[in-house]
Amino acid sequence: MSVRLVQPAVAVPALNEYAAAGAPVGALEAAALALRRDLKLAFRKPAQLVQPLAFFALVTMLFPLAISPELAQLRQVAPGALWAAALLASLLAFEFLFRDDALDGTLEQYVLSGQSLTALLFAKTLAHWLLTGVPLACMTPFAALSLGAPTSALPGISAAVVLGSITLSLIGSIGAGITLGIKRSSALLSLLTLPLSLPVLIFGARATQLAIAGGALVAPLELLAALAVLGVTLAPLAAAAAVRISLE
């Protein structure tokens, strides 16, 4: 016995006229939509958000265990340890920046939307930074304290990590775009992204060191800010080019 579903005989007006179509959407609005979509998606799967943060905490914990429980000694390695941990934790997260969208075909629709792909990918990277970089920056003060940094150093360290994480996210977006579609690409992604992230590491660690020692950190912070500005200007263009190449 088969059941036949009867559709109600509703007179549905045809969506026919081009004239009745809604107004076209500008690039900024489309980018804002992309941002909101990614944030909404992320909050529906909150477990995935926690993983890079847990990884960060774990790596931070490795240093006292591997070196010494003496806070005075840890203070020496704190800048390097914090930034190495932050870099590695960010790397974990970059793989997923475009992967899901590439798999289900939505990234392709972004390319075909008639909107600026640069703007859309920038919005995605911004969402990624808000979901990964900012929480990392919030966790860093606690990690720094655990490695012996004085409380006076915390504002400076946080500022450095916030600025540095912006550039890291942007560099990661380029790497993620280039390695889209390569199977088991995490090692390759790290190999591509880490050399480009070295300036951030150098300036960020220096800022952290100065913060711990109580010196003025204006210089490295300004350099980090300069890198961030350079990144914001150039990286989305490169990421858009990378995504187009990967979809060919």
Partner: protein, 208 residues
């Protein structure tokens, strides 16, 4: 629509070593539909993707309204809708939310318009469900709703009736027919036949 004409001239495309498209050419005017057939691997998807500007042909030209699309690819892509094998839907959004974010980045949509389009394709029953809970046929219907919302002159469809029941096949036919009736164009790659509702079509057979 004044500029609606699609001309393809001597298109050659290589994928790695394979010469997939060998001198493909056709001309399509407003209100016309092109049916592309061919065995698996003959290049139907590659042709559609090249028309959409996702792939770059080694030789040949695609012209929209008489102008080479490469001159202003973004404007051309704004005037077309491409539906690939997989419906472009996020699994963790509802059907309605998917349409809102997908088509909403192209044109402003009111909630009423969204509801209308979902009703048109028979998806109003599962519009508020997560796409991950929908069957393949249901997802296809949601994708077709998106297509209907894209009021653009050119439709590029890759196997539009996959996973659809007889009702769904008819739906695809009537959607394409409406598109043609308002002066649009459609290029559809299919294994068999397009639904009868589409009417007269031009044919292009690709050989592997």
């Amino acid at each position: 629509m004044p500029e609606s004409s699609l001309e393809v001239d001597n298109l050659h495309l290589w994928r790695g070593e394979q010469h997939v498209l060998r001198g493909v050419g056709f001309a399509l005017g407003a209100g016309q539909c092109l049916k592309v057939t061919g065995a698996n691997g003959a290049g139907k998807t590659s042709l559609l993707r090249t028309l959409a500007g996702l792939m770059y042909p080694e030789e040949g030209e695609v012209r929209w309204g008489g102008r080479n699309v490469r001159r202003d690819l973004r404007a051309f892509q704004g005037a077309l809708a491409y539906l690939g094998h997989e419906p472009p839907l996020k699994a963790d959004l509802t059907a309605r939310e998917n349409l809102h974010y997908w088509i909403g980045s192209r044109r402003r949509l009111s909630a009423a318009t969204l509801t209308q389009s979902l009703a048109r394709v028979g998806a109003e029953a599962f519009a508020e469900r997560m796409v991950r809970t929908l069957s393949a046929g249901q997802r296809r219907r949601v994708a077709l709703a998106g297509l209907a919302l894209c009021l653009v002159p050119l439709w590029l469809l890759d196997e539009p009736a996959t996973n659809l029941d007889a009702d769904g096949q008819t739906l695809v036919g009537s959607l394409i027919a409406e598109q043609l009736a308002r002066g649009g164009l459609a290029v559809a790659a299919v294994h068999h036949e397009l639904p009868a509702a589409v009417g007269a079509v031009q044919r292009l057979e690709l050989t592997a």
